[in-house]
């Protein structure tokens, strides 16, 4: 919302002072120069200038409500001219009505009529231009603020995305493991570094818009699992079964890794015993099925509060497919938690970059 110039206290004060001073000046001028009585001089000045002031205020408000994009000058000119005519005729008839008996004054008024019109027109025109300038500046600063807000929002989103992609906790823990390996088992350390590098490269490449083949995605997931295996060695067992016919099917490259990460987090982080994570990839009626299974501690689930943290993944699925039922979770006996992700296969190759 733009601020009206007349709603600013300082401008209010200045214009009021200016109007009063001008009214007094006109009255005094009429009295001494043209030798009318005080009463006539001041009534003339007050009525004329009050009308002028009303016209100024209305032109300011009018410009606040509406300003044409093109032909702005013409618009202002026409409005100013029309208002000038309205006020000078209004002044003429009201003063003529009040001072019917003062022939001298009425003669003078008719004589000075054109001059008064000119002065009113100049005043109104100046007022209109000042207002246009004011609204222009307001508009500009508003656009500036909006632009800045949009920029900072975009930056924040970008930062969040980067942080999400890099998963600092995972990264630093993995670096720590690599570091340990350089001392304990330098050969293994080399393997781990290349795996970590490939994984990071894959992560940075990933984008919601980009679909990847199951084959490519499973290689990426395997890298991730291998790294986690080094970190947790004996505690983590992994079983991956991928049907041959699914290898050429596609899925968005940002969905499976967070699900596997979740499985590891809730399977592994809540127990110090060994666990098995099972991943099955199958296809059924043109729908790709990815099933991730992890054990969990029912007591821990109750205290986790936020469930299994799949909300973000659900939201992303919804944005991609406008279908909230593609991600399903179930709890089987023996405290197994199963997450199923369904990806409808689009025959239209346009969807596959």
């Amino acid at each position: 919302m733009t601020t009206r110039p007349l709603s600013v206290p300082q401008i209010q004060k200045t214009s009021l002072g200016f109007a009063i001073a001008w009214t007094i000046l006109c009255g005094v001028g009429l009295h001494y120069v043209v030798n009318f009585s005080w009463m006539i001089s001041f009534t003339d000045s007050v009525i004329n200038n009050a009308l002028l002031a009303i016209a100024c205020v209305s032109i300011s408000n009018m410009l606040g409500y509406y300003q044409p994009k093109n032909e702005r000058i013409l618009y202002v000119l026409v409005v100013t001219l029309a208002l000038t005519f309205v006020i000078i005729y209004a002044a003429k008839y009201s003063l003529g009505y009040v001072f019917t008996d003062f022939k001298n004054y009425l003669d003078f008024y008719n004589f000075s009529f054109a001059f008064r019109g000119l002065i009113s027109f100049m005043c109104l025109g100046w007022c209109a231009l000042a207002n246009i300038l004011w609204y222009r500046l307001e508009e500009q600063s508003e656009t500036q603020t909006r632009l800045l807000t949009a920029q900072s929002l975009a930056k924040e989103a970008e930062l969040n995305k980067l942080r999400h992609q890099l998963q600092p906790h995972f990264l630093f823990n993995s670096l720590n493991s690599v570091f340990a390996l350089t001392m304990v088992n330098p050969k293994e350390a080399g393997v781990m570094i290349t795996k970590l590098a490939s994984f990071l490269r894959g992560t940075l490449k990933r984008d919601d818009e980009l679909w990847v083949s199951v084959e490519e995605e499973m290689e990426y997931i395997q890298l991730y699992l291998d790294i986690e295996k080094v970190r947790f060695s004996h505690r983590l067992k992994i079983e991956v079964n991928v049907d041959d016919e699914t290898l050429n099917l596609c899925l968005p490259g940002t969905l499976l890794q967070p699900i596997v990460e979740n499985a590891i987090k809730f399977g592994l982080y809540n127990t110090s015993a060994g666990i098995t994570i099972k991943i099955d990839v199958t296809v059924e009626q043109d729908i790709l099925n990815l099933r991730v299974q992890n054990p969990f501690d029912p007591e821990m689930k109750a205290t986790g509060g936020t469930g299994f943290g799949l909300t973000a993944i659900k939201r992303r699925l919804y944005l991609l497919f406008a279908n909230p039922h593609l991600l399903q979770t179930e709890i089987e006996a023996n405290n197994l938690y199963i997450t199923t992700l369904k990806i409808p296969q689009k025959n239209d190759q346009d969807y596959i970059n």
Binding site: H169, F172, N176, M183, G305
Partner: protein, 244 residues
């Protein structure tokens, strides 16, 4: 001789600390643990002078484990990435090592150790700060009869001051925690838990009715059929929280 315990869920992370410590003959590793439960047991058993403690671990976090230790040993925290914790360490001058752990930095921590062996006040301050972290403020970890229990805050009916302890009344019974009422008033969600009296904080979801007992003196009835007194200021807070 300084006796120490390493508590970290990743074996390789413990290996580094072990490797670095092999140069410091004055420090002896008496145990290695891979989660907070084991850590707590080992601390009770060995009463070490120093522990190396990871923060994110299975079951309970390093902070939650430490809260349950009565005679706290000196602590050197180790963490991979936790902005919140690192800030708490810095503010309270507690030693911490960032993974991957740098050798020079590690040696410096050991060098400063003698001066820090009695730093439990600082450790307490870190724990208080950690209790406010979003990852931790939805549950309370307590110990009863040697068993560790994790209580989701939603399960707490009310809290009552009891000497040096605070009694947490839940549907599963009462638990004691060695903290102050002010501590719980600050860490629990102010929209859910209201301090209605010097000695009581209640879970808003538990309120069934409020009654006037005498002039200016109110009592509140909880779902568990317990009447609790409400102080004058407590009544104002309770009314505001219930939107009356």
């Amino acid at each position: 001789m300084i006796r120490t315990i390493l508590i970290d869920d990743e074996p390789l992370a413990r290996d580094i600390v072990k490797y670095y410590l092999s140069e410091h003959k004055e420090i002896e590793i008496v145990a290695e643990c891979c989660d907070g439960f084991e850590g707590l047991k080992a601390i009770t058993q060995y009463k070490p002078d120093l522990i190396f403690l990871d923060i994110q671990m299975p079951k309970i976090s390093g902070f939650e484990m430490l809260e349950l230790v009565e005679d706290k040993p000196a602590v050197i925290f180790t963490t991979a990435f936790d902005e919140f914790a690192i800030k708490a360490f810095e503010v309270n001058a507690v030693d911490y090592l960032l993974k991957p752990i740098d050798k020079t930095r590690f040696d410096l921590a050991i060098q400063k150790l003698p001066a820090r062996l009695n730093q439990s006040e600082n450790t307490e301050a870190v724990l208080d700060a950690a209790a406010k972290s979003p990852a931790q403020n939805n549950r309370v970890v307590v110990k009863k009869d040697g068993v560790i229990k994790i209580i989701p805050v939603a399960d707490i009916n009310y809290l009552e001051a009891d000497d040096d302890y605070v009694k947490l009344s839940t549907t599963d019974g009462a638990f004691y925690k060695n903290k102050t009422m002010a501590y719980f008033e600050q860490t629990l969600d102010a929209g859910q838990f209201i301090r209605i009296h010097r000695s009581y904080i209640i879970n808003l979801a538990q309120v069934t009715k409020i009654e006037l007992k005498e002039k200016d003196s109110y009592v509140v009835l909880l779902k568990s059929d317990i009447w609790l007194p409400v102080s004058k200021t407590g009544y104002v807070k309770l009314k505001a929280a219930l939107g009356l």
